[in-house]
Amino acid sequence: MSRVGVFVCHCGENIGSTVDCPEVAERCKQMPGVVHAEDYKYLCSNPGQNKIKQAIKDHQLEGVVVAACSPRMHEPTFRRAVTDAGMNAYLCEVANLREHCSWVHEEADSTTEKAVDLVRLQLEKVKRNKPLQPIEVPITKTALVIGGGVAGIQAALDIADSGHKVILVERSPALGGHMAQLSETFPTLDCSQCILTPRMVDVSRHPNITLMTYSEVEHLDGFIGNFKATIRKRARKIDEELCTGCGECLQKCPSKDISDGFNEGLTTRRAIYVPFTQAVPNIPVIDVENCRHYQKKKCDRCVKACPTKAISFNQQDELIHVDVGAIVVATGYKVMSTEKFPEYGYGTYPDVITGLQFERYASASGPTQGVIKRPSDGKEPETVVFIACSGSRDAAKGVKYCSKICCMYTAKHAMLLKHKNHNSKAYVFYMDIRAAGKNYDEFVRRAIEEDGVKYIRGRVSRVYEEDGKLVVKGADTLLGGRPVEIKADLVVLATASLPNDGQSELARKLHVGCDEYGFLAEAHPKLKPVETNTAGIYLAGACQSPRDIPETVAQASAAAAKVAALLSRSHLTREPIVAEVNRRPAPLHSDCTGCFLCESACPYRAIGQEEILDRDGIVIKTIAKINPGLCQGCGTCVATCRTKAIDLHGFSNEQIFAEIMSL
């Protein structure tokens, strides 16, 4: 091909101020194969694109090089432009004069010289380009939602309501996540269980949703529209079909003193248990680590108690393979363990508790039926100190970031305390009150002005015990840093929100990124807040950063909308940048010798084997075969192949060598 047009963009000042663009265009005109070259201030603008289209027609161009910004930015724009002018999109190449040249060098002749070289490379490539057609791939119209907190519940229901199938995978034995543990929720103080339970029941009844609790994603293959997930359904040791949820077994289990995770360790549970009364599904699970049948090889009381013979000690984990088209990750968060701040006495003094423990006390379904008590002696505390930012916004003690929800839930806690016990006193130590949100600041004002919660701006240096009281020692920075000491009956720490356990391993399995703290990373903080860098995988809720319920639900619906849009399409088009094993006339058939090194090198498992048969159906040769649906065009197989039998469309060996030789 030898009728190439070159278009040099100034990108305003971005390229134009350090690279002499007209000079680049002039020099290109001298290069063999170039029949037209020009420069323009903004090629990505409509008039700019029209120049390209016009030139294609006027000069019967057979290839185009646009020398502009990164192809990540505008390659699609220019490829669309050449298609409008009747040219195959893959005959247009972009030379990156901005990120690779003008932004990183001073204005100088050598900068312009480098720009010319960059264009020359693409020119040599484009001369050898072949027209390519986008690949169409089908879409599996089922979504996988990982995590059954309020984020996962919302996303699953929205996708299911739009008519697509959903598989919801929850790691714990029941749906609900942290929201199920909460008492009342800011800023409206409506009961958390009351608004969540109906949604959990909706999930379990929805004809489009398959709910898998006590399960985790073990492995993921494939790509957008065509993922293959392996799910480990852990053995509950209960036959779910037979169990009626009557609860007879729960009463008979003799292993009693196991810390109850749902109640944040404030109570105990048995080895066979349902996490909480409203649990969905209402099917118990046997905690093998604590069950006498497994640990001591005796005890079958639950078996005897069960009227439907549902206990199944021999039940094994199952691996279930599912095909899905899109994935929503909604694995939530955890709260920081308190060893980071022993000066607050957590672990030493039983009456220093976390915010989540306070939620359990305040909850009507909690260990005290909603009466605020303290762990040491079960008395109702008179004076309670709340310490905000326990571990947040302080790299020395925890994390740098703001956990965002604590200001609001601390105000809520103080308010609930005052509502439940009118004679109590509530103090809050804080750094700043961050209450930006609809009706949020009003909520905090209400706590201060109507309920008389005392806010003290300052940090706490130490909590220690004296005469049966917890002395909270801190500073009041609004009173000139005066030290304050408050004798409290209960101290509540608003501990920082952290990425959930196992989140980084899950991220690795799914090939999605994490940020510096370990929260899952969005593709763009502003414009792609629910997408990840892996197409077809979306994020919802607190797995991405600390967030409250309204924001979590909004994001879950956003992710669901993305999924619904994807699953509504009949097929996907993919870039035809895929590798192919060459074919030659008989008797060679292919340069491939069938060593299959490429098969083991391929990170996407896109390479299989193909038999070449003669007319009688007898195998002459076995060679590698690349599945274009799975190939991601990474080129690893090309580099591995010893006989150079593999080429990547759009980036053939010939093209790459031509580029290098032109320098």
Partner: protein, 296 residues
Amino acid sequence: MRIGYYPGCSLKSSAREYEESVRALCAALDLELVEIPDWNCCGASSAHVMSADLALGLRTRNLAQAEAAGLDEVLTPCAACFSHLAEARMELADNPNKRQEVADFIGLPYSGRVRVLNVLAVLDRYRDRIAAKVKNPFRYKVACYYGCLLVRPPEVVQFDRPENPQSMDRLLEAVGAKPIPWACKTECCGASFSVTRTDVVANLSGRIVADAVKRNAAAIVVACPMCQSNLDLRRPEINQQLEQEHGIPVLYITQALGLALGIDPQQLGLQRHLVPVELPEPEPEVVTADDDDDDD
């Protein structure tokens, strides 16, 4: 094992018993102390208020001397000296120009290689050896008092937790003691106001003594000559302030560990304290019963 050793002025004068006990304990642990040749005062509490250059020069000269002697680490038992040397090291760590300036000023090359360690950091490495050598378990309730300079500021000292340090607690636990949870672990004793405003020291140190006594500690354990002297030497003023006679002794960590290892009290310099070191009967040994869970 060998380690560099910077005693500083206090350990040669008012805190002789600290030096004696450091040396006795290190000998018992087979840790050879190599005193920095021709060391000088770290500038104490005055140099840095007079001239920043002088203070930095004084501090750095000690580190430079240690380097010249081929040492990698320097044990600095005095908390104030430790803080000063560590600060100089940090100040020069990322600043080659300044480093050169100071080297010219003191007339010695200085690369910044030598690390500065306080007594707790060094002993922490020998915790297992200490535990193995215990002869007379130190079975007392003790108030571990770290004061201000051992653990703060965190960026400078790079040691333990600034608000709730644990290293001394761990060491004393290793010899059978029971460190109490108390309010004053890292409160200030009044430091060098000892001379100019004794009333302030009596007040601040008084709180520390009172809290330790109230929680039935048998001794206050320290790792700083300044803290020791305020709690010990100023005891008459403290008692006056508290309107109560408190006889609780104030031991250096090296003395407490030395006693547990069976080192002679004279060698540990216990006779030099102003508040006599009279310890009560040790607490009875607590045997924790193995709870065997029932089978029903």
